[in-house]
Symmetry: D2
Subunit: 328 residues, 4 copies
Amino acid sequence: MPLPAHVFNPPFNIVRCSHAVLGVRDLAASRTFYEDIIGLHVEDADADHVFLRGLEELQHHSLVLKRQNIASCKRLGFKVASEDDLDKAAALFAQQGLAHEFVTAPYQGRTLHVTDPFGYKLEYYFKMERRERLLQKYALYKGVQPQRMDHFNVFVPELQKTIEYYAALGYRMTEYSEEEPEDGGRIAAAWMHRKGNVHDFAFTNGHGPRLHHFAYWAPTPLSVIHLCDVMASTGYLKNIERGPGRHGISNAFFLYVRDPDGHRLEIYSCDYQTMDPDHPPLRWSLRDPQRQTLWGAPAPRSWFEEGSLFEDTTVRDPAFVANVIIAH
Amino acid sequence: MPLPAHVFNPPFNIVRCSHAVLGVRDLAASRTFYEDIIGLHVEDADADHVFLRGLEELQHHSLVLKRQNIASCKRLGFKVASEDDLDKAAALFAQQGLAHEFVTAPYQGRTLHVTDPFGYKLEYYFKMERRERLLQKYALYKGVQPQRMDHFNVFVPELQKTIEYYAALGYRMTEYSEEEPEDGGRIAAAWMHRKGNVHDFAFTNGHGPRLHHFAYWAPTPLSVIHLCDVMASTGYLKNIERGPGRHGISNAFFLYVRDPDGHRLEIYSCDYQTMDPDHPPLRWSLRDPQRQTLWGAPAPRSWFEEGSLFEDTTVRDPAFVANVIIAH
Amino acid sequence: MPLPAHVFNPPFNIVRCSHAVLGVRDLAASRTFYEDIIGLHVEDADADHVFLRGLEELQHHSLVLKRQNIASCKRLGFKVASEDDLDKAAALFAQQGLAHEFVTAPYQGRTLHVTDPFGYKLEYYFKMERRERLLQKYALYKGVQPQRMDHFNVFVPELQKTIEYYAALGYRMTEYSEEEPEDGGRIAAAWMHRKGNVHDFAFTNGHGPRLHHFAYWAPTPLSVIHLCDVMASTGYLKNIERGPGRHGISNAFFLYVRDPDGHRLEIYSCDYQTMDPDHPPLRWSLRDPQRQTLWGAPAPRSWFEEGSLFEDTTVRDPAFVANVIIAH
Amino acid sequence: MPLPAHVFNPPFNIVRCSHAVLGVRDLAASRTFYEDIIGLHVEDADADHVFLRGLEELQHHSLVLKRQNIASCKRLGFKVASEDDLDKAAALFAQQGLAHEFVTAPYQGRTLHVTDPFGYKLEYYFKMERRERLLQKYALYKGVQPQRMDHFNVFVPELQKTIEYYAALGYRMTEYSEEEPEDGGRIAAAWMHRKGNVHDFAFTNGHGPRLHHFAYWAPTPLSVIHLCDVMASTGYLKNIERGPGRHGISNAFFLYVRDPDGHRLEIYSCDYQTMDPDHPPLRWSLRDPQRQTLWGAPAPRSWFEEGSLFEDTTVRDPAFVANVIIAH
C-alpha cells in the first residue's frame, strides 16, 4: 500500500485512547463482570452508570457502563493535549462538515462529541477528574490486574480512506496486513498509534462501523492465565472467546473475552515502543497465518464476524472481500 | 466404578516412572528437537543413541532416543526400591506367565524387561548411574526448562482389567473419568500414581496398547509459553498439537507437542500432592467437558486418535466406545 | 558426618508433616494476617480457634490458631499411614519412656500427643475430616496463594542425636551442612523428609527446642513477590523478615515473614523430588555462604536468633557453637 | 519545590534516551558479561568496540563498549525527532556557550556531541542504522531478556538548576523526592521523561557529574530472578549489588548489577505511562523509606556512593547534604 505520510503537525493533538462508553442491558451483571472477574476498580456508580478504571490510571474512568435497553458502543473517548486542541478539533470538524457538539460528560471537562466521516461515534476531552493511582494499593489487585486502557479496534468498511483520514489527524501506522499483489494487494488491517506503543486505534476491513474490541493492558501472561482459571470456575467459561495466545502482529500475548452483552474485551500484554518518528511500519502478508496467531488454536468464526454496534448507525459492507482466507 | 482396593503391601515396590526409550528415524533431528527446543540435557550420545535428562534429575537419563528404521515406543522404564524388588518382580511375572528377562541396559544396573498382560513393554531397574543435579546450573537453562519426567499415559483396550492389574501392583488412583449411569457407567480413563503426585501411569480407553504421551514437569506456565514462542519461531509450529491450557483433571497447565517422529510429549505443570494413603479418587463425569479442558480451545482430533506404537505389538480395539463425545 | 542408615521398615509409618498449632495472643489480628494477607482459607472458627488450610489441601486444617495469653508453638502435627501406625507409635513411645497420650482434637480422629526425647511437642493422627479441594476455586485465590503445608524447621540443641532419632523413625536426609574438618567437622543442620521432597522436618543447631519456622508451598516466585507488595502496602512491612531470595540448600525461592506474634512463616517454592530410596544426601560446607543465600541480601540477625517457644519447655544451649560464621 | 513549568514547545525535540557509550578496560570480559549473562544481542564488534542492543530495538545499538585503559562513561545518547532538531540543538548550545561539535559516529547519522552546563557528556542524533527486531526471534532469548534501553540516572551536584535546565528542554517531571520543610525542603532527586513513561533521565543529588546507572527494561520479575540465579551460579555473585526489590518511586521491580568495570546497570520492570501533558508529578518525602524500597533489604553503601566518571571531568560536591538519611 502507499503508506500515508507521517503528520508531525497534526491539526489538533490527540494524546491517546482514553475510555469506552458502553450501553449494557443488565447493569448489575455487567458491573459484576468487570469488577469481580476482570478486576477493574469501580470509582463511582449510580442507578444508571458504573465508572471503572485500571490500576495505574489517574483518570476517573476508562470504562463507562450505561444501563439501556439495547447493548451498544456509545462512544470511544480520546484525550487531547489541551483545551485549545478541543477548539481546533471543533473547527476542523466544522470544516469537514461532521456532526459535532460540546456536551457535558460526568467527571470530564469540556467534551466534544463527533461522528467521524465513517460513522464512528467518538468523544474528545482534555480534563478529567483525577483519582489516586492504585498501582501500589496491592491489596486491591484482583482478576487480571488490568493496568490501563490500551487501544480500540474497529471493523471498517472503507479501510484505505479511514487510514488516510486518521493519518491526517496525526496517527502513525506501526503494523499492517495486506494481500499479496496477485491477490489484489489491498490493505486488510492497520494498527495506528498516538501514544508511542503499537496502537491506540486499529482498523480492520469488515462490516462497519462496528467496535471489534477495546483492550486493557495486563502486566504478565500469568495474570491472563489466572483470568482464564477464574472465568472457567465462576460460570464465565463461554465468555472466553479466543486465546490465550500470541499474535504475530504486535507480539501481543492476548486473551479475548466477551462481556454479558457480548462486547469484546482484549487482555493485552507484551508489545513494544514505537515513539520514534521514523519508526517503520511492519508489513504482514495476508497469506501468513502467523500474523494472527504466532502459535495456538485458530480464532473462532465469531471473532471474525461479531462486533458491537454504534447507536443509530447503519452498518455497511466492506469495500472488498479479501481474496485469501484471513483466519488462521 | 468399583474402586480397586488400595494395596499397601505390593508384591514389589515401584518407586516411580523413570524414563522412556523411543525409536526414532532421524537421530540428529530428534536430538535437536529435545536438546535445543525442549531444553533437555544431553548426558551421553553415540552413533545410535542419545541419552537425555531434566534439570533436577540425578539419574543418567530419563529419555533414550535410539536410531532405527521405524518410529516406536520401545520401553517405558520404572524405578523400583531395591535389587530385591527386581527379583520379586521377576518371580511375580513368572507366576503370571509373562515374557520377561534380565537384560543389560547402558548406564543402568540389572534391568528387567517385561511385556505386561496387555502388551505394554516395560522395564524395571533399581540402579542407574548418577550425574550431578543441574538445578543450580542456571546458565544451562533453556527451552521449557524441563525439570523431571513426570508420567506416562497410554491408550488401553481393556481399561477395567488394566486398572485392576496396576492397582494390584500398588498403584493408587487419584482421578478418573466415567460415563454417567445412563450412558453405560463405564470408566473411561484413570490416573494412577506411586510417587505421591497425580500420576506415574495413566490409562485411557482406546486402541492399544499404544503410548499416548510421556510428560516432563516444567516450573511455571511462563516457561510453557516461552516454549510455544520458541517453537513457533524456529519452524516447529506444526509440532504444537494442543494448548497451552488447563486440564480440569489434575489441574495441569499443559502443552502437547509432537516430536519429529510424532511421539507426543506433554509439558506439565501445577498439579498437587497425593501421598496420603486415604487420598480419595476424584471422579469426573464424561459429560463434563471441563475435565478435559477447564478452559481453552478443544483438543484436535489427532490428540484423541494418534499415539506411538510399541514394537511387534498388535493394536486391539477398545472394549467399548463411549456413549458420549469425549472431546470438549 | 556418619550418615544415618536409611530405615526402610520404620517402626511406624509417618506420611508427612501436616499442621501446626500455634498459640496467639490476638486471635482477630492473627486471623486477618493469615486469611487476608497470606491468603489461607478459614475453614472453621470459634471464639478461641481459627482453622485454616491451603488451596490444594483436602484436610480440614493445616494451621490452627488458638487464643491464649502467651504466644507459643503448641504442637507440630504429622499424618501417619493408618490407625495401626498410631498404636505402633504409642507402643514405641512407651518403650522409649516418652510422655504421650491419646487426646481428642477437633476435626481429627484419634490423635496421639507426644513430647519427643528432645522436648518437641508433636501430634500424630491418621484421620482428619476432609473438605473439598479449593485448587480449582480460582476466585478464592488471594495473597500468596498458599497451596500446602510443606515442612517444619526447628532449632536443636543436640543435633547429632536428634538426626539419629528421626532417621530411626524413617526420615531420610536430603541435604545437610557441616563444618570443614579443620573447623571441627560437626554437622550444623539437616533436612529430612518422609513425603518425597526436600523436607518434612529440618533441624538446625541452636538454642532449643524452638520452632524456627513452618512453611507453605506457593506456586511461583511471582506470587511471592505479590505478597511482598501486599504486605508493604497494608502495614505489614516490618513483618517481612528476609527475602525474597534463593537458598542454595533445597533450591528454594524463599520469603520469611513474621506473624503478629512473631511466629515465622516461610513461603517456599522451587524444590525437587527425593523419593528414591537411594537419593544421596547433598553436603554443604558451612564455609560456603551460597548454601544460605545463593544470591540476595544476607539474613538479618533475628533470623538466626529468634524462634517460637514450645509451652512449658526449657530451652537448652546448643551442644556447640560453630567455628565459622554461619550467616552469609 | 517550585515545579518547572511544562514546556510544550521545546527548543528542539528529544524523543527519548537511546544508548550509552562506556569505556571498558577488558573488552572481552565486558562482552561476555553483557552478551552471555545479561543477554544483550551483539550486533557488531571490532577489535576496539562491541555494539549491543535489546530484543525489541530496531536501532543498531543501545550500548557501545569501547576498549580503553580507563573505565568511564563516555557518552549518553539521545534520539531527536528529525535532522532539523539537531541543527536547532546546535544553535541553542552555541547560544548557551556550550562546547559542542558534529562528529562521525559509527552506524549513526549526523551526531552532535555536547557537554551540558553541568558537565554531562551527551550526544544527540536522529538517524541510526536499523536492524530487524528480535522480539519474535525467541530462540535468541537469554539472560534477563533485555528488551530496550529505558533510562539514565546521574549524580548531580546542582540539582535544582539541572532540573530547570532539562525542563526547559522539554523534559517533564513524573516523580521527585524532597526534604520535609523542617529539614530544609530541598529537592533531592527527580525523574524526568520525554517518551511517555516514568523517565528517560533521572537526577539525584550527589557528587557529580557521574553516571549512577543506565537501565534496560525486562518483561517480568521472573526474568530478573532468573538473572540472579544465572549470575550467582556463573561467578558473578559479587556483581549483584542490590535487589531484586520494589522501588516505591516508579513502582519499578528492580535489580542493580555491576559490570566488570563497576558500571552499574539496572534491570527495570513494572512502571507506568505518563504521556498526558497534565500528568502530575508525584512527591515522595525524604523521610519515607518506602520511596527507595517498598519492601526488601536496604541498599548497600556502594549504591549511594559509587558511580561512573565521565572522562576529563571534575567531580564537584553536591550543593547540599540532605538533613535526613536518604537510605532505607
